[in-house]
């Protein structure tokens, strides 16, 4: 067995434990239901429905992911310490740094799965609401069916096997949404007759990828803070830091030239604006590959710095 086996085992368990929490399913279902209902709610919007649905769907992805990532990282870590599972694992040949990083990687993996489900729903919703005048039911219906069938099938499976409902419902939702996407791909759009691959607005995936990087940064911050703080203050601090990150351009931008403090704060705060590139989709521009690389490198460096601080903090933590 490879040296990575303990890391992978802990990461996998952290991801599964996060997904098995009822709150994860609740937020995931709410976010995806919100995305899929957008075309039904935002009709007849004077030619803006496609844009509003797209922006709102990405906002659902961002807010839902932010809540899931920070909650799973903070609450999961705190639960491991409180319940004694952290002590049991650290009495095995597992380094504290390895345990901490593996847990964070597991939460990131759970977030990626959520993003994948939300982006599949967003692609279906944007296509369903592309016209102001008529819904594209070939995209809307499979999405809604997936949303309804996942909890029902998971309930039946839980009744039969007594295995956890929440994780089954989430994995079924993800699988069924991908199936719905594949099914809708066979149908051309009803108004302009576009066929695969032009019958979906794939540009959403690019912005979704960048938002997922931002969510991973938030989860990393939550994991680092959870080494010393309870879940409630962790969630509060993450919200403050990321709200400050959203406002950093407008508040700190004009002061960068004259203030070292502003420059430091600007460098330390997560630059959330760099990941919200919905406007580029409006302009019909293609986001260059170099931008993705730079954004990925920035997210990786920021997360690595935060995780290094978290690992150092956890290294000195006494596990009573």
């Amino acid at each position: 067995m490879t040296r990575a086996a303990p890391f992978l085992a802990i990461a996998r368990l952290a991801a599964i434990e996060a997904i098995r929490r009822p709150v994860f399913l609740l937020v995931a279902l709410s976010s995806i239901a919100g995305i899929l209902l957008l075309p039904l709610l935002l009709h007849y919007t004077l030619g803006d429905s496609a844009r509003i649905i797209r922006d709102s769907a990405l906002a659902f992805l961002f807010l839902g992911g932010m809540l899931l990532g920070t909650h799973a990282a903070a609450e999961g870590f705190s639960r491991d310490l409180r319940r004694g599972t952290a002590a049991a694992i650290l009495s095995k040949p597992v380094s504290r740094t390895g345990f901490f990083l593996a847990r964070a990687a597991g939460i990131a993996a759970a977030l990626v799965l959520f993003s994948l489900a939300a982006l599949a729903a967003a692609l279906l919703a944007v296509r369903a609401g592309a016209s102001d005048l008529r819904l594209d039911w070939t995209a809307e219906l499979p999405g809604l069916l997936a949303l309804l069938a996942a909890p029902a099938l998971a309930g039946a499976w839980n009744h039969r096997t007594r295995r956890p409902f929440a994780s089954a419902a989430f994995f079924l939702l993800l699988g069924l949404l991908l199936l719905a996407l594949a099914a809708a791909a066979f149908f051309p759009t009803p108004f302009d007759g576009l066929t695969f691959p032009r019958n979906f607005a794939w540009g959403i995936l690019a912005v979704g990828f960048l938002l997922t990087l931002c969510l991973a940064m938030a989860a990393a911050l939550a994991a680092a803070l959870a080494t010393r703080l309870d879940p409630a203050p962790v969630l509060l601090l993450c919200a403050v830091v990321f709200l400050a990150g959203i406002a950093a351009d407008s508040f700190l931008g004009p002061r960068l030239a004259g203030s070292a403090l502003a420059r430091t704060a600007y460098a330390v705060l997560p630059n959330v604006q760099a990941f919200w590139l919905v406007d580029a989709l409006d302009a019909g521009a293609v986001i260059p590959a170099a931008y993705f690389l730079t954004a990925t490198a920035y997210a990786a460096a920021w997360s690595a710095a935060v995780l290094a601080a978290g690992a150092a903090s956890f290294h000195r933590l006494e596990i009573a």
Binding site: M1, R83, G84, K92, P93, V94, I319
Partner: protein, 318 residues
């Protein structure tokens, strides 16, 4: 030879003070204790609640850091992951992920030890048989009774065939058969050269298996030594012989003892211990009743725990 090479655990002037948020001393949980756990022996750490037993164990496992003093475990720092490869630990509460089944739980821990898959599979099967939980291997452990959770905890502690086994209240929550099985297991492990450190409030269990004990109270070490050195009443002798056929013979015997020692002897009929008596009755009943559901009354020791001691599981290369 330094003590750490002869002892599985060597603690010297070990202290632990818990502090509050402002770093002010809150509780002195352990106060300058020194002890050695000899390799290949069973060592009991005794004391009432709050005496510092669990804190000491957590320092031995590197989960808590001593405020003062030092501790060596198997000749190295307790924080070394190489040392932890050779330790098996059963916590006071069986810390388990409630959604995992026994099979998933043991597979998870086997991965932490990087056991080769075929070795892991074989040991997991043997340990599930030994703990009488083979029939429940696919049930989430969150629904287990305390005794069943304890058995899974015991199985995970033995998965790596450890050199040093630390058992925190190993018989808590177990029925008398389970308790006997754990004691037999402890004796079998020590016969293979393993070292056992255990804590228990059940002093009869400790007396049954331990070579040495240390008694803690309020963080201080009050007594330490072999059971013989601590418990033997050197000014008294018990002589056991068959019950005399008649009262006159007995009276003559008592008279001769009185004349020889100048003191009145105490006369009592020895009693057998309750535990073997209970187990004998239950086992006979189990033999008569063939349709038992639930755990096997006395499952066999896992075969890999009966093999000659080959030392700890070496990490596979790569």
């Amino acid at each position: 030879m330094p003590p750490s090479l002869m002892s599985a655990i060597h603690a010297e002037n070990l202290s632990k003070t818990f502090r509050d948020f402002w770093h002010r001393p809150r509780v002195d949980a352990v106060r300058s204790i020194s002890f050695d756990v000899p390799a290949g022996q069973i060592f009991g750490l005794l004391g009432p609640n709050g005496s510092g037993k669990s804190t000491t164990i957590k320092m031995i496992l590197g989960l808590l850091f001593p405020t003062a003093g030092s501790i060596d475990v198997l000749g190295a720092s307790p924080r070394s992951t190489a040392v932890k490869r050779r330790i098996g630990y059963l916590p006071e509460e069986s810390y388990l992920y409630p959604h995992l089944t026994p099979l998933e739980t043991l597979t998870f821990y086997a991965r932490l030890f990087r056991l080769p898959p075929e070795t892991a599979r074989a040991r997991i099967d043997q340990l599930l048989d030994m703990t009488g939980l083979s029939h429940a291997r696919h049930r989430p452990v969150g629904g287990f009774s305390k005794g069943m959770a304890r058995r899974i905890g015991l199985a995970q502690a033995l998965l790596n065939d450890p050199d040093l086994v630390i058992l925190d209240e190993p018989t808590a929550g177990l029925d008398p058969q389970g308790t006997r099985q754990v004691k037999d297991l402890i004796l079998a492990l020590v016969a293979r050269g393993k070292t056992i450190l255990l804590t228990s409030h059940l002093l009869a269990d400790v007396e049954d298996v331990c070579h040495q004990v240390a008694i803690l109270f309020n963080g201080r070490l009050l007594a330490q030594g072999t059971l013989d050195s601590l418990l033997t009443l050197k000014d008294k002798t018990t002589l056991t012989f068959p019950t005399p056929p008649d009262p006159v013979t007995l009276q003559r015997l008592l008279e001769s003892v009185r004349a020889a020692l100048g003191a009145d002897p105490e006369l009592e009929h020895p009693r057998q211990a309750l535990e073997p008596f209970f187990l004998q009755i239950v086992q006979e009943a189990a033999r008569r009743q063939s349709d038992l559901s639930g755990a096997a009354p006395h499952p066999p020791l896992a075969p890999f725990l009966r093999q000659p001691n080959n030392g700890p599981d070496a990490a596979p290369p790569g």
